[in-house]
Amino acid sequence: MVDTDRPWQAYYGANIRPVLDQATYRNIPDMIHSVAETYGKAKAFTCVLPNGMNGTLTFKQIDEMSDAMAVYLREIAGLSVGDRVAVQLPNCLGFPIAAFGILKAGCVLVNVNPMYTSEEMAKQFEDAEPHVLITIDMFADKVVEATRGHPIPNVIVTRVAEFFPAMPRGIVGLVQKYWDKVLKPIEVPHVRLPAALNAGREHIKNDRIEAEKYSQEVTLDDIAVLQYTGGTTGVAKGAMLTHGNLIMNMEQAMELLAGDMQKGEEVILTALPLYHIFAFTVNMLSFYWLGARNILIPNPRPLSNLKRAFENYKITWMSGVNTLFNGLNNEIWFRHSPPKHMKFAGAGGMALQAAVAERWREVAGCDVLQGYGLTETSPVLTFEPLGKAREGTIGIPVPSTEVACFDEHGQKLGIGEVGEIAARGPQIMKGYWKKPEETDNVMIDDWFLTGDIGVMDEDGYFRIVDRKKDMVVVSGFNVYPNDVEDVIATHPGVLEVAVIGVPDNSSGEAVKAFIVLSDKTLKQDDIRSFCKDHLTSYKVPKRVVFRDELPKSNVGKILRKDLRAEEMAQIAAE
């Protein structure tokens, strides 16, 4: 029985339920605890450094340590339900302990990018008002300045090799301190993570506290995470994601993989940062729930940092962004010995270029399937079903989710009509933190407007045409930079490309391409004539410039807005 409003359900196959029941768990702590009961001594998280040194914690250990963390936050730091705790960590064993501990305490987790400058941190702290900051020794020198506006009384500090065996932990510490010189003195009062956990354990033992009691009052509708995003308007704001949002999205993402992923048997690679919503929900929550072993990579740059992880573990799944897959495709060691056990890879965060996906299939010998979503949607909205991927699409909506295109008057459009993609489902955020007017801007009743322009085909597969604000209008014709980038990216001499619109006297706007070449002998005209073979003339870039690199975000997304700002500054200067 196919719902005419939801044609995609025909592609779910027998294993996938079109509608998921209410969340299986009371809240995230309930899930964490019951999964730990099932998998007990199996390995849950392994942090792997570039030289192969590693540390591992089991499900049981993670559960026990996050209990101690929760007790520390409630009893010693004195927090109550709903208080915010900032976590500013790269991927390391401290991350799941901190994140799970905060949620078990009934507090709200605020993910902070470790690479942020102290000004960026300060802005986020002033908005989220966290009471506790959990950070890493490498970046703790920024705390003094970052907490001037909003003081944070409690700072907990961990390190990258925390919970490693003593010898590698010591070596890593010495190398970081004396060779890399990345450890600067920490000038704020702080407590080390193991000491905080021990203090929590003392309370559990002496006062017979059960961490479970904290989360008993937490419902699915309570906020679990404040996830900051530029959103569609560019103003940084915290998306309020509830326990229900995250649990449902975790189940939705896994439902589509049902049958392809085995409980308790997968080994997954997390090279994307966990503070990013994609890795947070899909890698950390979903695969913990599945009982998978999660290989955490603190710093995937340079990509050779991943070599040992690929050599030493039988990775069966990994997530990445276009830039990561493109980079691995170009790494010699990866091409020589691609992972043998990988079933497929998942891409998100930005559009996966068809040329990159194609090359990945050749190099790695497995599919890379693209998912689509936003911070505000926890994040997964659509996913390409295994074996039924369609080139150029972002796949079909996950179960219990409706996706449709809307025109500018807020009217739902039909098949083949281009409009703004909107979605409704259990994963849509509660709203923006302390910014109701921003929330109103993106919601039409219970539909969330994504700011992406797209179109649905007759089978319910969606295709993103472009970001609303990235569209270029050349003499009245709409040009979507993705279309042009996709073509240029297929040129064998091109490594990376970004396309933006620039003001133009004759056409209003003109298409301009920024290209990083792998074949430096190419000329502007080569690119233009290549485009002419593949694109309508108004889409062919009027201007082509070659660069050594392109501006990118912290997760490797190419930042068109930076290129635009550069362009504008130049015009203003002239």
Binding site: M53, P90, P165, R301, P302, E311, H336, K520, N554, G556
Partner: protein, 293 residues
């Protein structure tokens, strides 16, 4: 001359260095070496074709004592060392190819080193203890194998051994500088400039020829740099271990002259070459994604 204590210490150091080398390898590296005969071919030609022949020419045309000549020949015939990977990394070369060439030359060395040494020694009319050399080579492959299995069993222990192995690789040079040099100071003053020419030339000319050899095969510049460094940089500790364990103590001083001096000078030579390579490195480089963290 080296005293017995120094000799034992040298032996232990070389064993740990080889252990560390093993811990940096996986069976997959060998599998890849076999699957890519082209790389294998380049490795064998540069390591056991170019270098021994260069050593032979140096020993033939430089006016040196027979024992010094033997040292030149030995140094020229040992496989590539681990230090080549470090310099390859800083020269923005191809690390995978560097590892592959080191693996290939180390393992095939058990057969090829004695064979080639015999040929050139005969040509130079020098006597060598062939069986003893084979024995030492075999003995030194044992820690390599142990290192590999240790890493397989426990990645942390493997990485720790590798870490100490590479530190020892550096300490070894310091050790030579502070023990062997003072103990043989008089000898070093008396020896001719030909000895120094051989010690420096072996590395410098080896790298140069390696580079043009790779160029003649039309290799990518990145790979050409790798082959160049891999050709010129030899496993100094291994050469010294062979000498310490196979020759009587009274002969060791002269035989060890070139290997010891080579080990010191190659660091300087490779550093200079790395600077040249980095400057030449402009186009066609693989770029890492800029920001993933």
């Amino acid at each position: 001359m080296v005293d017995e204590f120094t000799q034992t210490l040298l032996g232990i150091m070389v064993a740990v260095i080889m252990l560390g080398m093993g811990a940096s390898l996986t069976p997959r590296d060998f599998y890849l070496a076999l699957r890519r005969p082209y790389g294998l071919f380049i490795g064998v030609v540069s390591q056991y074709g170019i270098m021994p022949f260069l050593g032979f020419l140096l020993a033939l045309f430089l006016v040196v004592h027979e024992k010094i000549a033997l040292g030149i020949l030995l140094m020229a015939c040992v496989p590539g060392g681990q230090k080549s990977s470090i310099f390859t990394y800083f020269s923005k070369g191809n690390l995978a190819l560097s590892v592959l060439m080191t693996v290939t030359s180390t393992v095939s060395g058990v057969v090829l080193i004695p064979l080639i040494l015999t040929i050139y020694a005969a040509a130079l009319d020098i006597e060598i203890p062939r069986e003893d050399i084979v024995k030492v080579l075999f003995v030194l492959l044992v820690p390599v194998a142990i290192g590999m299995s240790v890493r397989r069993l426990n990645a942390n222990v493997g990485a720790t051994i590798e870490f100490f192995g590479s530190i020892l690789g550096v300490l070894f040079i310091v050790f030579i500088a502070v023990t062997w040099i003072p103990q043989n100071w008089q000898f070093l003053l008396n020896t001719t400039s030909a000895t120094y020419t051989a010690a420096i030339g072996l590395g410098l000319v080896g790298i140069t020829i390696g580079y043009f050899f790779a160029k003649s095969l039309r290799l990518h510049p990145r790979n050409a740099r790798t082959v160049a460094l891999e050709t010129g940089i030899q496993n100094g500790p291994l050469a010294i271990a062979i000498i310490v364990f196979t020759f009587p103590p009274e002969q060791q001083q002269a035989i060890m002259a070139v290997p010891a001096l080579y080990s010191l000078f190659i660091v300087i030579v490779s550093t200079c070459v790395t600077f040249v390579f980095r400057r030449a490195n402009t186009a066609a480089e693989q770029k890492m994604p800029d920001s993933l963290l």
